[in-house]
């Protein structure tokens, strides 16, 4: 069996690996090259060196988008994970009936695409804003910001909850039992026993919410489209707008350079996060 696996393994990996090369590795390096070029379509790229990168740092909209994204990420990571963990705790209690139904219900928003969600929430939020006599989303930065956070919470809490549930169910009963025999309160059990044991789940969830928030595009496009006047534009949307909404060859390379910087930024931030939470994981 082992032998056969070793022999034919590469063969089975091949289709996926080929798809990975064609769909990811090649475009990634081509994108990297294009960020040093001036081009309209990818076939007529002209190498111009570092010009695009210099322009990125003169573009204030990119920096604004970065701060907006950062602010959004911090709040959404915290709220999604806290709520998801709380839900997971509630739904792993033994005596609660119908936990499976609740788990399904909470998970469901995840099955709807970001664009659809964005438009649905746009209608909902606009209705509420209009009822309370506030400016609608397209004119209201605050509503746009909180709208995005509510939308992302609604969509992602269920997903993270499932991961936390898996983690909590893996906490050995021996440990919790020992804790209760030793007279630990449920609060103490949570902090001293359960939490350290689910650190791997926390690592995964924080990683996922972090990258999702930083790369958020669909929901941003559908809910606010960056209105009013780019004030709710996140990094991915800013890149998209630079690339597609602008006329002239000088913008394409600039958008590409932004994308490369964005990619590095996301990798660096998530690596730091991964290190930080991973180091807190405990061995059983």
């Amino acid at each position: 069996m082992e032998k056969a696996l070793r022999k034919y393994g590469p063969l089975f990996v091949l289709p996926t690996f080929a798809a990975f090369l064609i769909g990811f590795v090649y475009p990634f390096f081509q994108g990297l090259y294009l960020s040093f070029c001036q081009f309209t379509t990818i076939n007529n790229a002209k190498f111009i060196g570092l010009g695009n990168y210099l322009k990125v740092f003169q573009d204030t909209s990119f920096l604004d988008a970065f701060w907006f994204t950062a602010l959004f990420s911090v709040v959404s990571i915290l709220s999604i994970n806290v709520f998801a963990f709380a839900l997971a705790l509630i739904l792993t209690r033994d005596h609660l009936k119908g936990t499976n139904i609740f788990r399904t219900v909470f998970f469901m928003p995840n099955l709807i695409g970001g664009i659809v969600l964005g438009y649905i929430w746009q209608i909902l939020i606009n209705c509420i804003l209009s009822l309370v006599g506030q400016p609608l989303l397209a004119l209201n930065t605050k509503a746009g910001y909180w709208g995005l956070i509510i939308l992302m919470c609604w969509q992602q809490i269920g997903y993270m909850m499932i991961i936390y549930i898996a983690g909590l169910q893996n906490v050995p009963e021996a440990l919790t039992e020992a804790a209760s025999i030793d007279g630990a309160t449920s609060w103490q059990t949570l902090w001293k026993v359960k939490l350290p044991m689910v650190m791997p789940s926390i690592t995964i969830c924080v990683f996922l919410t972090l990258t999702n928030s930083f790369k958020l595009f669909d929901q941003n496009l559908a809910l606010t489209a960056g209105e009013p006047a780019h004030a709710t534009e996140m990094l991915a949307l800013n890149i998209y707008q630079t690339f597609y909404a602008r006329a002239g060859a000088q913008w394409k390379g600039l958008g590409q350079a932004k994308a490369v910087i964005f990619c590095i930024l996301v990798i660096v931030i998530s690596l730091i996060q991964f290190r930080a939470t991973h180091s807190k994981e405990v061995q059983q």
Binding site: L34, T41, I42, L137, L139, L208, A236, I239, A259
Partner: protein, 454 residues
């Protein structure tokens, strides 16, 4: 435990990649959705016999106007039936033309015929525009000013002339006690609109349909209405484009915008969410007398017997500037055909023959006039049944001067968006400070965007 967790992690990571997609870092590589249905490989055996140069060539037209998609498909079929040359017409979704064009152009079977919307749009595609100077179709133009030229190089050819103005429901106007002839200046329009607003509860309709600032409708104001202050300024200065607009007529622009939003079917604070369809539906339902839009709306306003030619009229947009007695509709073009210079030589020739056929042959000109409702600036043009187009001709015959389309000289889309955002904010809260923001977006934004683009 570890193993389980690892597999859980992998599963989650994989599904996360599926859910979020991974296009963020490589936007240039994402192929266009929707344009993929094309098969443009020319069938060699069907090549036309009479033209040696275009042998084996085929045409791939990336159409800009969704309203005319069906008519183009039919015309393409007719051409293929007549000559054997394959013509593929693909229409980009509304508002997605540039995006679609960009990704289609990157393919091996790129569009051979595409369009740009004027000098600003041309900046993107200049390297791809075949010089049409010596072509047959250029010779067919009734006036050289309909071509998009730089020096002696002809980059594009305007293929449709359109007009826009204030579409009015004559029946409602008469119910309110006004005649079309009464509305002959900004003052008259203002008096009429405000009178209708005052009596709207009794009349059951409003003066203007909602001036929606949703993306499907905001171009009517940030582009088309904004053309008027630009036009009058250009006239005064005697220029055709400018690196820095002064905004001489912005007070008129404000007065007109105030009139639109305060005499409308809805609360101005709700305009940001109103769509183009909302506005049209209000006009079709008889809830509003005036509806600012263009000749391209004729089809949807008369479809299924909604309105007949007797119900409708298009008035010039009076903003209280210039010689109002002699002002006509806003007439011009922002649709220029360009031939892809980087296509195969045979395809270029086939494309040139196709567009020449469209504007000279009986089938072509009839289809463009009747099915598409276009007025085409070519010698063999057939008269269009489009009421608004006929009105434009009538106004011109009366000696009125059409307002030219100067929005093709607006520095960028970004500029339009800036003005649009500021207009929306002003509509929700009509203070001088908010209007100053519109002026800033208009005047300062112009200079900034112009310097970025040039």
């Amino acid at each position: 435990m570890k193993k389980k967790l690892l597999s859980a992690l992998l599963t989650v990571a994989m599904s996360a990649a599926l859910l979020t997609g991974c296009g963020a870092s490589t936007p240039a590589e994402t192929p266009a959705e929707g344009g993929d249905t094309t098969q443009t490989e020319a069938p060699q055996e069907e090549a036309p016999q009479e033209e040696a140069s275009a042998e084996g060539g085929s045409v791939y037209y990336l159409n800009f106007k969704p309203e005319q998609d069906e008519a183009w498909q039919k015309l393409a079929e007719a051409y293929t039936a007549e000559t054997g040359v394959e013509v593929t017409v693909v229409t980009a979704a509304s508002g997605q033309y540039e995006t679609t064009l960009m990704s289609e152009m990157g393919k091996s079977s790129a569009p051979t015929l595409f369009q740009v919307n004027g000098p600003v749009g041309l900046a993107n595609w200049k390297d791809y525009c075949y010089d049409l100077a010596g072509s047959d179709v250029y010779g067919q133009l009734t006036n050289e000013s309909f071509a998009l030229k730089e020096g002696d190089v002809v980059y594009g050819i305007g293929y449709v002339i359109e007009s826009y103005g204030l579409i009015a429901n004559k029946t409602l106007l008469e119910t309110a006690g006004y005649k079309v002839e009464d509305i002959n200046s900004f003052e008259a329009l203002k008096a009429c609109a405000e009178d209708i607003t005052a009596r709207s509860a009794e009349l059951g309709f409003s003066a203007f349909s909602s001036a929606g600032m949703d993306g499907s409708s905001d171009w009517r104001f940030k582009t088309h209405l904004a053309n008027l202050p630009i036009y009058f300024e250009y006239q005064e200065e005697g220029i055709a484009s400018t690196p820095a607009i002064k905004g001489t007529y912005l007070d008129n622009y404000r007065a007109m915008w105030d009139l639109y939003i305060n005499n409308s079917t809805c609360d101005p604070a709700e305009l940001s969410a109103k769509t183009g369809d909302d506005s049209r539906a209000e006009f079709l339902d008889g809830k509003a007398v005036f509806y600012q839009n263009g000749s391209w709306e004729y089809g949807s306003l008369t479809a299924e017997g909604a309105y007949t030619d007797d119900d409708l009229v298009m008035l010039p947009i009076y903003i209280g500037a210039g010689d109002e007695a002699n002002q006509g509709l806003c007439t011009g073009t922002e649709n220029y055909w360009c031939v892809n210079s980087q296509a195969e030589e045979a395809d270029i020739q086939a494309t040139l023959e196709f567009i020449n056929w469209c504007v000279t042959s009986e089938a072509g000109t009839t289809a463009m006039a009747n099915d598409m409702g276009f007025v085409i600036p070519f010698k063999a043009a057939v008269e269009s049944p489009n009421l608004f187009v006929k009105q434009d001709t009538a106004y011109t015959a009366e000696g009125k001067t059409p307002v030219s389309w100067n929005f093709t000289t607006m520095p960028s889309e970004e500029w339009k968006n800036g003005v649009g955002s500021a207009l929306t904010a002003y509509a929700a809260d009509q203070t001088d400070a908010n209007w100053d923001a519109v002026v800033a977006a208009f005047v300062d934004g112009w200079a900034t965007e112009y310097s970025l683009a040039n």
